[in-house]
Symmetry: C2
Subunit: 457 residues, 2 copies
């Protein structure tokens, strides 16, 4: 106990201890993630093909399976200094509340105006777009965190920013739209009548509340139809996981500094950006056989790509205009129940995470949203941070793990990623506070309908 | 320049460098703030009289003009460790954007779920109430930050919390209400039909959008009519400024550590809690003749208590049920235009701040809200933090000062308090983004109507 007292509530690294290079886990993976395929030729995408969608350096990062460390440009490091290093928090109050012998830590990425970790990749993607002399970028956003993050990065670099926002979020979160507008972005609810992809989806599913898959189709089309624009994406891609490695690298440095070794590492998983970033240096050690960790991805039961999806090549979007990625997928046409409150609505999963999961290097569990909000409320009350619904998926599983330790008496060290805050999710919290939240899990028939849209190669 | 580079973007103290005692500026003031008067007898309130409204230890702190340092109980220090020390930020990006030779620093108090500095006093007040064995507390909230902070503190200590929320904020900020509910508080829009004070105000001003003064009357009445409840207040009082000294103490320690001496210290002023807390150790040095600083309080032109009010004894509330305080006041009946978007809506001002201002130890300026939001937007874009409208009053004046330095070439060091974030103020930002924000300054006649309600002693 005496030794433990030395660990502060929050471990902040000094600025000079911040990473100067991103870590590219792919370099250490024995089975590399499968390459993206050209949707026309069904052949692996080449650099020059990717450059039609993404800007040059990002296309290179997307394809680079070899370089373990990629230097972070100084301009990006300076931006990081405005809100990083983020704290690694010892959840003393949660431990006390749960009366668990487990030691719980969380890496908190919500202390910035975008409210999440998404800013780590937004600034990188905006920086490379600016460097290439582009005028602007287009993107989609689901819960709104990525759109906000990209708006902030673009405002900082004076780039134009056009965001297609999943309609259900646009309606539930009018204030998210205003934050993006304050940062100078144009925000359009998706599906919209502005693009061919949007019009096609509206025709096929009138009254749809949208999905990330639809919004991606629209954003990709919008970029392609404008001179000097490229599309950027907040999750799923290899490049995004690369940028998000800053989360894991900081966590590892902070833990090493205090001699802390996690037994279990838990992260929520929508497209996989936070999970991939958080686990990267730990997974690297695990793959290299240096250490062993139990690693768990947590997804919503209403959008269970890892736990109930298929490992197959699928389109990243609903409109089937993007490259094909080999990933765990529910089918590009799968749209979670509008009853589902949080983010993590994506039909697929990062190819890196998918490969790691397929190779048995990590586990996945799905949780129901009422249990997630119950954990969120308890966490808010004892730890003083109102968490994002997405992040609360990880809280739920971390708490369950800590409660198991209470039964067994094990003093496990649990690390989880607290990706963001729920300040713009109060409609969902209201539903929970009013006792109106229910759980809706897709039946096998519904899943089969989704699977039917996975292309046969 | 080389020496400057050593100063990081954010200075975080270590936990062991956090203050262990609050600093009571009154102990060093030559002219003490005038005592509160009993509203019936018009004689100075005694400890036992104050205890009918406030809990015991807080009543003692309210009256203590002698003790310079009051230890912070360990339980409160542990709570502080969940979100403090707060960062002292060097605004490199803002300096660059303004092309000013000035060095700008801000103490950022928004990195907690209440979104402001209010939590510093909320936990202290809730702690003493709990310690006294009370069941719960009642309070008012304007912009909603104080109510949120108190809800969080009460949830942590398992105390009941009843909040009267100024109606205009209740309507503009439905999500604030949900945050408070998530923390288990009961929230009532004020004026309400629940209290005599509320009913009287509604009768006199049907359709009023409320004011802090009305909400205080209701909260005081609600506490008095319930067994085991006391009233707590988020600003104005001596005890609140005492707790908020933690802001200034951390700032001073951080600045001393890097050899930084501010020339100008700027804080927004509603009831005076942030301003009083930020300036306290600096003002102490100034009063003791050890150092000189220029100190500026910034208030909205639509609620200009320091710059256009009278220095007189007045009720702290509109219903005239509270003790009388000697302060700069616009009259207890003064209600700012509903057009006014931010907080800082209080008719009076902390007696400590009022006395310091009266004694010429500090300056005050008022600013119009369109200029405030212009500064807020620029700040958000370059510094990456979307500020609360209240805090943006200080940003406006800090920017003006930095722009003056640009003209004169002076390399002044400017320190300001960034009290919180604007995530629940997007209705106001929307108004600004849509070009619908106007400035409405009370005419002399309107002020006279307010002054007429100041009692003659």
């Amino acid at each position: 106990m005496a030794e433990e007292k030395k660990i502060p509530y929050k471990i902040y690294l000094e600025e000079k201890e911040m990473p100067t290079a991103w870590y590219n886990l792919r370099a250490d993976m024995k089975n590399k993630p499968a390459p993206l395929l050209n949707p026309g030729t069904r052949k692996p995408m080449k650099q020059e093909e990717l450059e039609q969608v993404f800007c040059r350096e990002l296309a290179a990062q997307e394809l680079d399976d070899e370089t373990a460390y990629i230097p972070i440009p100084e301009e990006i490091r300076n931006f990081y200094r405005m809100y990083r290093p983020s704290p690694l928090v010892r959840a003393y109050c949660l431990e006390e509340k749960l009366q668990t012998p487990a030691k719980i830590y969380y890496k908190f990425e919500g202390n910035n105006t975008s409210g999440s970790h998404k800013l780590n990749s937004a600034i990188a993607q905006a920086y490379y777009a600016k460097k290439q002399g582009l005028k602007g970028v287009t993107t989609e956003t689901g819960a709104g965190q990525w759109g906000t993050a990209l708006s902030m990065a673009c405002a900082y670099l004076e780039l134009d920013c056009r965001v297609y926002m999943v309609k259900v979020s646009y309606e539930q979160k009018p204030f998210r739209r205003e934050v993006m507008r304050t940062y100078g972005a144009t925000v359009t609810p998706s599906p919209s009548g502005e693009t061919e992809a949007g019009r096609a989806i509206l025709k096929k599913h009138p009254g749809t509340t949208g999905s990330l898959g639809c919004a991606i189709s629209e954003a990709v089309e919008a970029a392609a139809s404008r001179e000097g624009y490229r599309y950027v994406l907040g999750s799923v891609l290899n490049q995004v996981l690369l940028h998000q490695s800053v989360i894991g690298l900081e966590t590892k440095t902070a833990m090493d500094k205090y001699g802390i070794v996690p037994d279990v590492i838990i992260g929520c998983a929508g497209g996989g950006s936070n999970l991939g970033g958080l686990i990267s240096p730990f997974m690297g050690e695990k793959i290299r056989g240096e250490k062993d960790y139990r690693i768990i991805g947590v997804e919503p039961a209403s959008c269970p790509s890892l736990t109930r999806g298929r490992f197959a090549y699928d389109f990243c979007d609903t409109g089937m205009v993007t490259p094909l990625a080999k990933m765990y997928t529910l089918g590009n046409n799968f749209i979670p129940s509008p009853n589902h409150a949080g983010g993590l609505r994506y039909h697929g999963m990062s190819p890196v995470i998918s490969q790691l999961y397929h190779d048995g290097l990590m586990e996945a569990v799905s949780v129901e949203q009422s249990a997630v909000f119950e954990a969120a409320e308890l966490f808010a009350r004892v730890e003083g941070i109102l968490p994002a619904p997405e992040s609360s998926h990880a809280i739920r599983v971390a708490m369950d793990e800590a409660l198991r330790c209470k039964e067994t008496g094990e003093e496990k060290t649990i690390l989880f990623g607290l990706t963001g805050t729920g300040y713009f999710d109060m409609v969902a919290y209201e539903k929970y506070n009013d006792g109106r939240m229910t759980d809706e899990i897709p039946g096998q028939e519904e899943l089969e309908r989704g699977f039917a849209t996975i292309p046969r190669l």
